[in-house]
Amino acid sequence: MRFAFSDQQTEFRDAVRQVLAKECTTDHLRAAYEEPAARSPRWTTLAEMGVVGLTAPEDHGGLGLGMLDLVLLLEEAGRVALPEPLLETTAVVVPLLSELGGSGDPGGVGDPGGSGGVGGAWLDGIAAGDVAAAVGTISTDSPPIAGADGADLLVLFTTAEAGDGEAVPEVHLVDSASVTIRTVASLDPTRRLGIPHWTPKDDTRLASGATAREAIRRTADRAALSTGAELLGLTESMITMAAEYAKERNQFGKPIGGFQAVKHLLAGAQVKLEFARPVVYAAAWALDEGEPHASRSVSTAKAYASDAATEAARVALQVHGAIGYTWECDLHLFLKRAWALAEAWGSASEHRQRVLDGLVAGA
């Protein structure tokens, strides 16, 4: 029993933190607000460091690592509100492509994880930093897909109808050049929301039926966990910004951070963060290890991280007072991402329900 990261993992985290502190400042974020892009020089830097291809197999230029290695880096991405789709690309699409390797559907894109298949080529491109991906569901009532606007590769989940009328889940691999995407405005423009205009074709199908169902389920787990990890970083940033502000801002002749009402708001948020962290880390471990209760761990993690972030966002804004309500103050860059991610890939209450249903079913 050892619940800690390895030195290698924390050293990699520190290296990424250093790079992002320089390459993803709030000035960069403001620039990304003006011109949102899926890839940037920063993305290339991350690819060169091995971050983008972290989860890709080594024979596709990746490092062949897992969620436990990635989770600390996602936390760093959250800390700086990284606008690029590390979560969608590295945490979600790469494992999906690698996993579906060899399961190629007859008539589908085939052999995706293998060296020669279409999926394999995408993996090469991702690890090289040339491909940004997005992932989502296409149905009449599904929400817009984060990162779809500007993504190179889309992984789309659909439901086909079998001959007997039964719903059959499918996973499709779609080159974004072949579709038009209607953009949808997000409060956080770097989310690059979009709805692809696309209908399923045989030659984009990567998997269907039970294989697809399982892949979609695992994707949802990875995405929820990764979102939770980014939320940890966002939460810490919001608390830190507010605590720093509370030390500087004077009212009644002293720093507002000396007032107990302010202290207690921040302490409450800090306690939530402290307890969310191990929950997220444990879920990453459980996913990598294929633990029987991995999905429950993931739901606990997402619910905890979402709530911690929502609380920190509320508290951080309150502690800033009116300045926090301005466009000029950097805080909103983090608040907006936190609000979006708190609901993405399952809200806190959806995940709580999932936890409880599983417990009652004895699962």
């Binding site: 619940f3 509370a246 000396g258």
Partner: protein, 392 residues
């Protein structure tokens, strides 16, 4: 050497778990069969249970063997606790000694003090209470006024003053208390940590009935109570430092093991599943709270493993103990509040009914945000020492 994360217990740890489980299965009295430990009769019944554990070396598993333990590590202790709560074994009447004073004795005690006090504590021959709070010094512990003056020629001290809210103080044999030895020194400086035998002449105990009517704590009056030098813990004038070590155990890893909460949370889920059948509408209204309470317990379990690993690798627990205390006390409340909401009108039933433990547990949980330093004080600590906000 670089090692990776692994949340599984080792085969040796599982063997230890099974050994504990089978011992507990053979020896644990039926759940809630002992009289309340806040009565004279219950106190003795609980003492006997501790003696039974001690006889087979289960009362203090993490202590060295010479003092009656098994010398196992913190993870094994957590495993033992899981089994203990799973078996619904009795509350630990010796908890002030075993979980609070003992870690402090290991850190600050002399060899003679350890040899004198630890074995008797492990067997519950001597049960300890904590004499810190005073009528005018609760949250402001450094404001205590009870004092000790040098008893010249006698190699000891004469203690005078009043302590209050001492849990189990009505029946305990020994008390660890803070007294002012230097009235001139600045508040935190002039304090000394004493180990006091309750039968010493000059000690008077007045039991205080708690919210449930039982004698859970007591006032203790001291009138020129002689305490020899050998019963000063950690040095004269060093009482504040020593007390903060005890408080760290109280808020941090030692007093409240996660098993207490994970076990209660799993019984809460059972109660919820039962309510789904009998009172589906009420159950549906409680679903979110039940799930949250279960997750709070799980988060506490994981946070404890996280901290334990850090401690095992040579790290220490600082102000995180305050965050910890806030979390465990609020988790306890969340679990019990959710249970009472599921019980609906039956929540107020008191006595021996099957559901009465939830009400008793709720009453006890309500004290959690007050004792061991109130949660408001812990929030101050988190804000000042984890976030660097100014002291105010």
């Amino acid at each position: 050497m670089d090692t990776t994360m692994d949340l599984r217990t080792t085969p040796a740890q599982e063997a230890f778990r099974l050994e504990a489980r089978s011992w507990l299965a053979a020896h644990t009295p039926p759940p809630r069969s002992l009289p309340s430990l806040d009565t004279a009769e219950g106190f003795e019944a609980h003492r006997q249970w501790e003696q039974t554990m001690f006889d087979d070396r289960w009362s203090v598993v993490s202590w060295p063997e010479e003092f009656g333990g098994r010398g196992v590590g913190i993870l094994e202790w957590l495993i033992f606790e899981e089994e203990y709560w799973r078996a619904q074994a009795p509350l630990r009447v010796s908890q002030n000694g075993v979980f609070l004073l003992a870690p402090t004795l290991f850190e600050f005690g002399t060899e003679e003090q350890r040899a004198r006090f630890l074995p008797a504590m492990a067997s519950a021959r001597e049960i300890w209470c904590q004499g810190w709070s005073e009528p005018d010094a609760g949250s402001d512990l450094a404001g205590i006024r009870s004092r000790a003056v040098r008893s010249e020629g006698d190699d000891g001290w004469l203690l005078t003053g009043q302590k209050t809210w001492a849990s189990r103080g009505a029946f305990a044999e020994w008390c660890f208390g803070l007294f002012r030895t230097d009235p001139e020194a600045e508040r935190h400086r002039g304090l000394t940590y004493f180990l006091i035998e309750m039968s010493t002449p000059g000690v008077t105990v007045r039991p205080i009935p708690q919210i449930d009517g039982e004698t859970g704590f007591a006032e203790i009056f001291f009138e020129d109570v002689f305490v020899p030098d050998g019963q000063v813990l950690g040095g004269v004038g060093r009482g504040w430092n020593v007390a903060m070590a005890t408080a760290g155990s109280e808020r941090g890893l030692s007093l409240r093991s996660p098993a207490r909460y994970t076990e209660a949370a799993s019984r809460l889920v059972d109660l919820y599943a039962h309510s789904l059948q009998t009172e589906p509408a009420r159950a549906a209204r409680s679903a979110d709270a039940v799930a949250q309470a279960w997750m709070d317990a799980e988060a506490y379990r994981l946070n404890t493993l996280w901290t334990a690993t850090r401690v095992l690798s040579g790290g220490s627990v600082g102000p995180e103990a305050s965050a910890n205390k806030i979390h465990w006390s609020e988790t306890d409340l969340a679990i019990h509040r959710a249970a009472l909401a599921l019980l609906g009108p039956e929540a107020e039933f008191h006595g021996d009914g099957v559901d009465a433990p939830w009400l008793d547990g709720y009453l006890f949980a309500l004290a959690g945000p007050i004792y061991a330093g109130t949660n408001e004080i812990q929030r101050n600590v988190v804000a000042e020492r984890m976030l660097g906000l100014p002291r105010g």
